[in-house]
């Protein structure tokens, strides 16, 4: 689904990532770790065509990311649900409208029952009419997850989704991601929360990728 081959990325001040080779197989669950500033967000941006590799090749659903036209990028993003590190919403529209935004922009009608069920599932049923600026960090992260899955995407990428959550809320979000993976979704979570990774490994077979020395390596089982 997502394939990295000898990928390098350079913002202009030297290569941040080099020689990245990785294949996200359907139904897999990956964690991506590494110190702050290592390039986790950059890696994810390469995976949803926000950035194009400066070396090597990223293949998204069988197509070279570099050859994607602007509309192709839009179509690709409909198949990849992303929970961004800084969850951005349309602040003037209520939560429910924000969650269904991916459907709105591609002209699909929303199903009210599905939406209600989804909001219940992420624990935001009572906040459907709230405006995003009034939400707490954890509520925003869960709203972002709901928005990421509403299109029933094949892949879900989450960038430090528990970054500003307490442990209980982190566990809850992890549970949601694990459930999605059990439903067959391919999941990649960037985090530097080792406890979260241990907790996940007790529930499923997750692989851990670590960014070190500009390379993305498969970490051992010694976590």
């Amino acid at each position: 689904m997502i394939l990295f081959e000898n990928v390098g990325y350079n913002y202009g001040g030297g290569e941040l990532l080099s020689d990245v080779a990785l294949r996200l197989a359907p139904g897999s669950f990956h964690f991506l770790t590494g110190p702050s500033g290592a390039g986790k967000t950059t890696f994810l941006k390469l995976a949803y065509a926000e950035l194009r590799p400066t070396a090597g090749q990223v293949t998204l659903f069988g197509r070279d990311a570099r050859t994607l036209a602007r509309d192709d990028v839009a179509l690709t993003r409909r198949r990849i649900g992303v929970v961004h590190q800084d969850c951005q919403f349309l602040d003037h529209l209520p939560l429910a409208t924000n969650v269904t935004l991916p459907l709105t922009v591609c002209g699909k009608p929303g199903n009210t029952q599905d939406l209600t069920a989804l909001l219940e599932w992420v624990g935001l049923g009572k906040l459907a009419d709230a405006l995003p600026p009034s939400l707490s960090g954890g509520e925003r992260q869960r709203a972002a997850l709901a928005r990421a899955v509403i299109m029933d995407p094949d892949v879900i990428l989450a960038d430090e989704p528990t970054g500003n959550l307490d442990w209980e809320m982190s566990l809850r979000l992890l549970t949601l991601l694990v459930e999605l993976n059990r439903m067959g979704k391919t999941i990649l979570v960037a985090t530097h929360d080792m406890n979260l990774i241990r907790q996940a490994k007790s529930q499923l077979a997750a692989r851990v990728l670590r960014i070190a020395n500009r390379r993305v390596q498969l970490a051992g089982a010694d976590l």
Partner: protein
């Protein structure tokens, strides 16, 4: 582009909602579109009135100068013959014709009544000249007449209108040029307003792109707004200006140019084209601005 224009006027309110409403820019756009339409109506009225004036004066020019010959009765026919042969060799004269007694009587009748004994009076004979294009040299013709037929006087009473007709023609061009400038200024103004709206909503545009919106969807949200604003503003401006023109005082038919400023008959339909024209200009300008902004984002 045609398709997106019709889609725009259709049901696509959804796209409109995703961009937050912007009170101040909206008011400014409405106001400017209205003011521009107001000016455009007057420029249009000016062009049309100048055009009518130019046509009227040009047609009055087409022809009529007269040569009046006063001579003792026994010399009259000779002089007429001399003048006619002189005219036939003068460049710039299409035709010349001596009026007969019946025509002269018809001309004088309104002043002196039907019983005027034209034959008994020592009336001058009239020769009607139809001018060619380009016309004849008036001074030269006068000199030749003075030399060969001292009793003949050239009366080219319509010649003074020639520069006036030129001026009216020029005025019509200026009016049309003003219309073009107004359209251009409207486009420039809407581009500026759209750019500022796009810049103010960059974060909205980013979110939309991230959740998979195509450029055309985002562009539509902005284009729809600015097109509708321009249409509304220009409609108001046009209506006010048309009322203003309709209320201009009328003078008599021979009235001066100022009172002829206005629309006649089907001409009243022309200013109604201005609001849709403003909408098309806004549509194109916003679309251009939006696509250019989007190109800089992923």
């Amino acid at each position: 582009m045609k398709n997106s224009f019709t889609a725009l006027l259709g049901a696509d309110r959804q796209a409109d909602r995703v961009v937050p409403p912007s009170g101040f820019t909206a008011q400014l756009t409405l106001f400017t579109a209205g003011a521009m339409a107001f000016l455009a109506v007057f420029a249009l009225a000016l062009s049309l009135a100048a055009g009518r004036l130019a046509d009227r004066w040009a047609s009055a020019l087409a022809g009529t100068a007269t040569i009046r010959i006063s001579a003792p009765p026994e010399q009259m026919d000779t002089q007429v013959a001399i003048v006619l042969s002189l005219l036939s060799t003068t460049p710039g004269i299409a035709s010349a014709r001596a009026m007969d007694a019946a025509e002269q009587r018809a001309l004088l009748e309104p002043w002196f009544g039907p019983d005027l004994p034209v034959d008994a009076l020592p009336l001058p004979r009239l020769i009607e000249i139809t001018e060619a294009n380009p016309g004849y040299d008036g001074t030269g013709l006068r000199q030749r007449l003075a030399a060969e037929a001292p009793g003949a006087v050239l009366d080219d009473h319509t010649r003074w209108r020639r520069p006036m007709a030129h001026a009216a023609e020029r005025l019509r061009l200026l009016g049309l040029l003003s219309l073009l400038l107004i359209a251009g200024a409207t486009g420039a103004m809407i581009t500026l307003a759209a750019n500022s709206a796009l810049a103010a909503n960059l974060s909205v545009i980013r979110v939309l792109r991230l959740v998979g919106a195509k450029d055309s969807y985002i562009v539509r949200a902005f284009v729809r707004r600015f097109t509708l604003r321009a249409l509304t503003g220009a409609s108001a401006g046009t209506v006010f200006a048309m009322i203003g023109v309709a209320l201009l005082p009328r003078a008599d038919e021979a009235g001066a140019f100022l009172t002829g400023l206005g629309f006649q008959g089907a001409g009243w339909l022309l200013p109604l084209l201005l609001p849709p024209l403003a909408a098309v200009v806004a549509f194109a300008a916003t679309r251009f601005a939006a696509f250019r902004t989007l190109k800089g984002l992923t």
